[in-house]
Structure formats: C-alpha cells, structure tokens
C-alpha cells in the first residue's frame, strides 16, 4: 500500500543507452548502417546524450472512470478507466536525453550532412525510448516491493490521456530538476523527452506491455517497424 510519494533513482549514464544503439536497425542498408555508425561516433565523442529521468510513485484514487486524483491533481485519464476501481497508486515519470543531440542534428542539416543528421536523430529517439524502458523497469521493481502490479501506461498526447495533462504529469513526476520544460502549447522541451503515467494497484491483472509500437499513432507509416 502506498501512503506517500517514493522514488528510486534511474541510472543516468549514457553508456548503457549507446551500447544498445550499436546493434543497428531493422532492414538497414549498408549505407544507412554507415551513417548510423558515423552518428554514434559523433554522439559519443561529443557526449550528446545526457540522460536524466525522474519518477515518483504516489497514492492515487480513480474514483469515477476516467478521473484520477493524486497529490492534489485531478487528471482525466481514459486509459485507466477499465481498472478505475482497483487503482490505488500511480507512477509518474519524465525522461530526457537533454538538448545537445537535437542542437547537433540541426547543425548537421545546416552543414548539408542530412544522412548523419537523420541517423543521429534516430539514435536520440532510440536512446530516449531505452531510457523510458529503464525507468519503467525501475517503477516495476519499486511497485513490486510495495505489493503493487502495473496496469495501463499512458503518455500525454497519445490515446488514453490528453496532451493538456502534460503539466500535471511532469509535476507528479517531480521533474523540476530534470531540465524538461513545457512550451506554450504544452510540448516537452528538449524535444527528446517523454513523460508518462502508469496505473498501479494490488489487484490489477497486470498489463501486458505489447511494446511501444502498438500504442504509437504513427505505426502505419513508421519505417522502423
């Protein structure tokens, strides 16, 4: 049972992220692999990936369907509705790899090196997803220690939680020191940032995580699948 906010630091080292990136992409041509290796070399030599992750596990109440109350915030989270009565805690997380990589991507486009720019951008996205997965794993460990099971995950802007909930999710995650800020319209800055909520409860069935792609609105067009 969660009675107060708790948090476990996530590893903030870039090296484990970059190790995963060396494996390459599905259906990658030799030329694209070369661009990826060049991008990886740029990223490592200039330390462009500076991962920061923050998360908190908080007592929560999902009283009526889509409404979630936690730490003084009231959020609309349709993704949690099926488990509403069983949710008694929520994990909120925010992750970023920092602003340096996206700045370098812009410089490479300006320098007419779009293949390396594109590869570097993808590398950044992969690193961010990896960091997000690591954070989710940390939440799972922490939840287990408290006798809780993970339910649905919801990323602001995707189906299941509106984009306008972004500020509340960041506040719940305790992301003040992460360097993540919100633009006027609620977009996360740096761009290579992500925030999410995970429903928690002792009697949840246990959400089967079918992978990021299953929830991605761009999956039909994604060349990485």
């Amino acid at each position: 049972m969660v009675t107060a906010a708790s948090e476990t630091p996530t590893s903030n080292r870039a090296e484990p992220l970059c190790t995963a990136l060396r494996r390459g992409m599905p259906r990658e041509s030799a030329a694209a692999a070369l661009a990826r290796r060049q991008a990886l070399a740029v990223s490592e030599s200039e330390t462009l990936i500076r991962p920061v992750a923050a998360h908190r596990v908080l007592p929560a109440r999902a009283a009526d369907g889509e409404t979630l109350e936690a730490d003084g915030f009231t959020l609309q989270v349709p993704a949690f509705a099926p488990d509403a009565g069983k949710i008694n805690a929520v994990a909120a997380a925010a992750c970023t790899i920092g602003p340096d990589l996206e700045r370098r991507v812009r410089e490479l486009f300006t320098a007419h090196r779009p293949s390396v720019a594109l590869a570097l951008d993808r590398l950044g996205t992969q690193a961010l997803f990896r960091l997000s997965d690591q954070t989710l794993a940390a939440i799972r460990r922490e939840a287990k220690g408290q006798g809780l099971v993970l339910g649905a995950q919801a990323n602001p802007g995707d189906a299941g939680i509106g984009f306008e909930q972004q500020a509340a999710v960041l506040a719940l995650a305790g992301a003040e020191a992460s360097g993540i800020a919100l633009t006027r319209l609620g977009m996360l800055s740096p761009e290579k940032s992500v925030s999410f909520l995970v429903a928690l409860g002792p009697d949840l069935k246990g959400h089967v995580y079918s992978g990021r792609c299953a929830r991605c609105p761009a999956r039909e067009r994604c060349p990485l699948r």
């Binding site: 030329a31 991507v105 486009f109 007419h112 293949s115 984009f163 977009m187």
Partner: protein, 214 residues
C-alpha cells in the same frame, strides 16, 4: 543510355557513393555535358523515389541518394557556371516552416533538403513560426508554394490559422499550400483548407513538380 550512364545510375541507386562520384568525375573529365550528368542523377533519384514510395527503401537511403546527387552537383556547378547564359535555373520558389507552437523540425528539414536538391529555391523560416511571420516572408520571397509542417495535433489549429492569415493578406490566389507532419492526413487537410498534404518528402517534391511547371 550508354554503359557508363547505366553504371552511374546504378551506383547511385545502390548507394555506392564513392563509385558514383568517381564515375561522374570521370565522365566530366572526358568532356561529358554536366547537364547530361545531372540528368542521370535525376533519373537515379526518380528510381529511388519510386522504391521509397513502394516501401522498397527507406528514408536513410533516400537522403543518402540526395547527398550523392548534391556531391555530383557540386562537381558540375563550376563547369555550368563557366558557360555563358547557362546558369542552372531553379524550378520555382517554396517557403517552408513549422507552424506556431510546434518545435519539431526533422521532417521539415528533410523536405527542405529534398526540394533543394531537386532544383527548387527553398526558404526555410524555422520552427514555431507565427502566421504573421509566414505572411511577412511571403511578401518578401514571393513563393509559388508554401509548406506548413507540424507534428503535434495542436499544430493543426496553427496550420488553419496560417492558411486563414494568408487568405486575409490577399496572398492566396495562385498560391499552393501543402501540409505535412506525423499525423497529418486528408481529414487534417480539409480542416486546414490547404491544397494538399504529404506523408513524406517524395510526395512534397511530386506536389511541387505538379504545381510548378517549368
């Protein structure tokens, strides 16, 4: 097409950059018309564009082929500039930017690059661009096509506002507006009243070719 011509097209299509540039250089050294060499590059790019549309190659390959075309173009440029009255003509002007409230620019940058190497005069006015800035830049640059980019669903309102601002400024007649971004589709196009939407950079180039006849 001569065997040399075929080799150049094949080298570009197979992403063998060093071979492609060496072949092009040898052709130019032997006195081949640089416009012929550029035309071969365009043929290769068209092949890659078709492969991309059919899902047989992906964005990295498309961009790499564009880089090869740019490298070979750089070899041709001094030879073309040396000719009287033979300066390469741009096909038309395209103004492009990410609409207000959205900071995403990777898609816009790729479209800008692909339009540039396909012979369009492109002015990229950046990210988070207010509608009035689009209007101001249009008055100065006088483009035939405006490209509005936006990844967020919230950007769709900004796209609509930008199109309305262009209309209110009296700049809509004779202008074509294309929109693009992660979740843009025909529904969004209708909402924004843009002329067309594109799922990728190849479509953006095709639209400009269709709209701007040299």
């Amino acid at each position: 097409m001569s065997p040399n011509d075929e080799q150049l097209v094949q080298a570009i299509a197979e992403m063998r950059e060093d071979d492609a540039v060496a072949l092009a250089r040898a052709m130019l050294d032997e006195g081949r018309d640089p416009f012929d060499v550029l035309d071969l590059c365009r043929q290769a790019m068209d092949m890659i564009g078709k492969q991309f549309e059919q899902g047989e190659c992906f964005l990295p390959e498309l961009v790499l082929a564009g880089e090869m075309m740019e490298s070979i173009g750089a070899l041709c440029k001094p030879l073309i500039e040396g000719r009287e009255g033979a300066a390469p003509q741009k096909h038309g002007k395209v103004l492009i930017g990410t609409v207000q409230g959205d900071l995403h620019d990777i898609g816009k940058n790729i479209v800008t690059f692909m339009l540039d190497i396909n012979g369009y005069d492109v002015r990229d006015i950046g990210i988070d661009v207010p509608a009035e800035k689009f209007v101001e830049e249009m008055r100065d640059f006088k483009p035939q096509v405006v490209g509005l980019s936006g990844f967020l669903t919230l950007a769709f309102d900004s796209m609509k506002e930008t199109v309305e601002a262009i209309e209110a400024a009296g700049l809509r007649d004779g202008l074509k507006i294309m929109i693009g971004g992660g979740q843009v589709d025909e529904t969004v196009r209708r909402y924004t009243t843009a002329d067309a939407w594109g799922a990728n950079a190849v479509v953006a180039v095709s639209l400009c070719r269709e709209w701007i006849k040299s």
